[in-house]
Subunit: 224 residues, 2 copies
Amino acid sequence: MARQERAVRTRRVILEAAAAVFDERGYDAATIADILSRAGVTKGALYFHFASKQELAQGVLDEQFGEGGVPQRESKLQELVDVAMLLAYRMKREPMLSAGARLSLGPGMREIFGGGSVPGWIEFTRTLLVRAKEQGELLVHVDPAETAWILSACWTGAQIYSQALNDRTDVEERVAAVYQHICPSIATPAMLARLDMAPDRGQRVAAELESGRGPVREADPAFS
Amino acid sequence: MARQERAVRTRRVILEAAAAVFDERGYDAATIADILSRAGVTKGALYFHFASKQELAQGVLDEQFGEGGVPQRESKLQELVDVAMLLAYRMKREPMLSAGARLSLGPGMREIFGGGSVPGWIEFTRTLLVRAKEQGELLVHVDPAETAWILSACWTGAQIYSQALNDRTDVEERVAAVYQHICPSIATPAMLARLDMAPDRGQRVAAELESGRGPVREADPAFS
């Protein structure tokens, strides 16, 4: 393996270990020693890539939405549901995502990381809602900025409750229920009748992405 | 001041200091030394009341919903909105509430505190929704258990986002927006037309409670 390739792989191993430790213990309680022992790399290797715990956490945040892309749909509200359901599906399986969510939301995290991925997530949602509204998918009273904030916050609340109460086993079902509770207030009846908000939607979208069917938008730059 | 009265007062001072420290730093990062210095009491006084950090946190959780009571309404959906808006109003002003929310939701908190106040909060919401449905305030498809979970989780998500992004300055406006986004999916049109979900609802309910007008239900035992 070329030296550069090995460095990339080591960096990834360290970030995955950091994500797992941040996810389990939180930023404050996590130590570099925990991350070293989880990653199984030398101290020198870790500090070659990351100078501090804060840089490690920033690395996790940067990777959070770096992979996979999101499916493009003609209906932008369906695209938004798909992104939310895909994230719920992946969050159950990838510590990088759940650690990123946790790092973004702890009190004090705002000072250190500027709210982490949350502002980018709200802005991404707002952009899709603006386009959905232009296409006539949303009711006239909908304010895309306000609804984007609410949808993002409610997604996060469902994820946190699911984690705290059920170890995330029901996260897809709960995120689906969030959308089922909110979409009737924002979507036109015609849109609502065509919207797929089933709990297994994320799994089906993931399979679609893996099979290479359909156009895929790369992860939005707002996230990184 | 009688000795017992003084002990009650000291216990309260310690719990308020503990709430402030847990709220700012989180359970893991908080230390007894922080709490001691914030409370301005002796180590002996603190250990007389609480044997450990875990007991301090449990004390904060127990106090969380112990005060104030909630207003009774003929419409149980309005009563639920009032409780939610009153909590948002008080959370901005009382660290005991915000620390309790934080202690209930951190990863790892489930093992230590059994999900904190969250299960009691969901159950309280479910009970009100069952009565609202019996009274014909809710649409026939509404499952009180599912909707109670979703409303509680979305309330929490709005509170966390408001804290992380805006230091809770907009928490009442955001919690109101959560209800405005969900109630149209669950309430009958006649109920919806009478429902007060304005952002200043919590403040008005607090004033009503202070003035002693209207029947008040004591804090629900499910919370303690």
